[in-house]
Amino acid sequence: MSQPRTPPNGARDELSMGPAVVAGRRPRGAVWDALFAGLTRTAAGLVLVLMAAIAAFLVLRAVPALRKDTVNFFTATQWSPDDTPPAFGIGALAYGTVVTSTLALLMAVPVAVGVALYLTHIAPRRLAQPMAYLVDLLAAVPSVVYGLWGLIFLVPAIGPFSAFLSERFGWIPFFASDGIFGKSMFTASVVLAIMVLPIIAAISREVFRQVPADHIEAAYALGATRWEMMRTAVLPYGRPGVISATVLGFGRALGETIAVALVLSANYQITYRILTPGGNTIAANIANTYGEAGHNGRGALIASGLVLFAITLVVNLVARSVVARRKDLSGAQG
């Protein structure tokens, strides 16, 4: 759309019709168009700049500390970055991070998938929406409140249950203990499980709801019971979505800081005894030791944060590639 260089009647430029543009001058409206498009493109570019800056500044601040490290950063378990000479490694931290997150998923995924199936295919239709809202509310509770609740309520409450597990199943190495329970990796993973449950449930619910009615009817028409319908039509269709939801929940659990920091009694040992006090995670260690860390200690914490960043990046990549494959699948049938 073009308009004369000088609108004689003062008409709004973008509504007026006029002769072709005189060569060499662009109409004013077009300039605004280009400016606005440029503005949005700049904003979009800023996202890339930010992500690059995150990586760059973490590396910049981590490298000096890593240079002074006298032990292997990836495998060593001690954390004494402000000693002379400094010695720190994320072995125990990474181990604790992965163990607590994995345990949390083991607890959360079956429940979350069950909830999603219940809400999409069993719950009374009128109630399904408010019921789903209740489950979503779990995600609205701030992590520090979960931490507080975990510390004051769950830690004492989980003691007897841990004792029971340890008495009956103490012969399984994971459940061995020396009689003290509470601020353990198990407790941390229960809190994490509660926190990732609504995320996994919400995504699973979304994919289960997208199962085409055609497939559901096909299963019923073959004489399937409701459970058989879910197994033949809903679960296979939803599997990639559930997997990527699980991976996203894993990413969330890996990075959770405050709730874990409050319920773990932190140490730097690798132990498979999940019921006894101890264990640590990368994120919780940053929050716990940041206050008293010296110059090199802060660099070391940034280095550990960089590792956490890299891990969550990979985890998110995996989740995305699973979703991408699902798109291929639905493309093939269309």
Binding site: D214, H215, E217, A218, A219, A221, L222, T225, P236, A332
Partner: protein, 258 residues
């Protein structure tokens, strides 16, 4: 195998809306009965009540009698799952399970019944795919996804899946409306073969198709939008298409409305 269906005094509701009113008809075994009529006249709704598939739609309910060989499929305490095993259904759009292979699609129903012996399943797959006129085209790629077939092949796969559980009655809800003319002819051939063994009820918008494949035809109509659909006339296809009793039937068939 095939069974006779007696319907009397059947009303179907969606919530408080009455979709179909006071249907009574008899469907003869080993025959093809076509249901025709303008859009929204309740043909598909009615078809679904013959194997209680309408119950999958929230708010839908039926009252009245549907007897299959003198057994009321709405008898209290009767499991709809058992009804559907006896009355199979083929849908408007081909709907093979996208995550399953051709082979698994065919045996999906009988696996649910707990029959899992490989040799038995192999036999069923070959037999039903042959019945569905699809064996020659897919026998070398049974392990491929069902979604890799063409639309017409997918629909024949769905027919194979439906007859693999050995139903007595086969309901078809506009099975050709999503297909090209050549695939449509293949399905129509198949319907003519299947009626040797099954009682078939087919909903179609295509009058020529009704004339080509069916033995008897039922004409449904609505008085106005928002009014329930009713059965206007039912009789031998030949008679309905050449000399119907009702004026509305004649108008519809000759294309004066609908």
């Amino acid at each position: 195998m095939a069974k006779r269906i007696d319907i009397s005094g059947l009303n179907v509701y969606y919530g408080s809306f009455k979709a179909v009113e006071d249907i009574g008809m008899t469907v003869e075994p080993r025959s093809v009965t076509a249901l025709i009529g303008p859009s929204g006249c309740g043909k598909s709704t009615f078809l679904r009540t013959l194997n209680r598939m309408h119950e999958v739609i929230p708010g839908a309910r039926a009252e009245g009698k549907v007897l299959i060989d003198d057994e009321d499929i709405y008898a209290p305490g009767l499991d709809p799952v058992a009804v559907r095993r006896m009355v199979g259904m083929v849908f408007q759009r081909p709907n093979p399970f996208p995550t399953m292979t051709i082979y698994d699609n065919v045996v999906a129903g009988i696996k649910l019944q707990g029959r899992r012996r490989k040799s038995e399943l192999d036999g069923v797959v070959e037999r039903t795919l042959k019945s569905a006129n699809l064996w020659g085209e897919v026998k070398d790629r049974l392990a491929k996804p069902g979604a890799s077939l063409s639309g017409g092949q997918q629909q024949r796969l769905c027919i194979a899946r439906a007859i693999a559980v050995e139903p007595q009655v086969l309901l078809m809800d506009e099975p050709c409306s999503a297909l090209d003319p050549i695939s449509t002819l293949a399905i129509e051939d198949l319907i003519r073969q299947l009626k040797e063994r099954y009682t078939i009820v087919i909903v179609t918008h295509n009058m020529q198709q009704a004339a080509r494949v069916s033995d008897r035809t039922a004409f449904f109509n609505i008085a106005a939008t928002g009014k329930p659909g009713r059965l206007i006339e039912m009789g031998d296809t030949h008679k309905i298409f050449s000399n119907p009793d009702e004026r509305a039937t004649e108008d519809y068939i000759s294309g004066r409305f609908g």
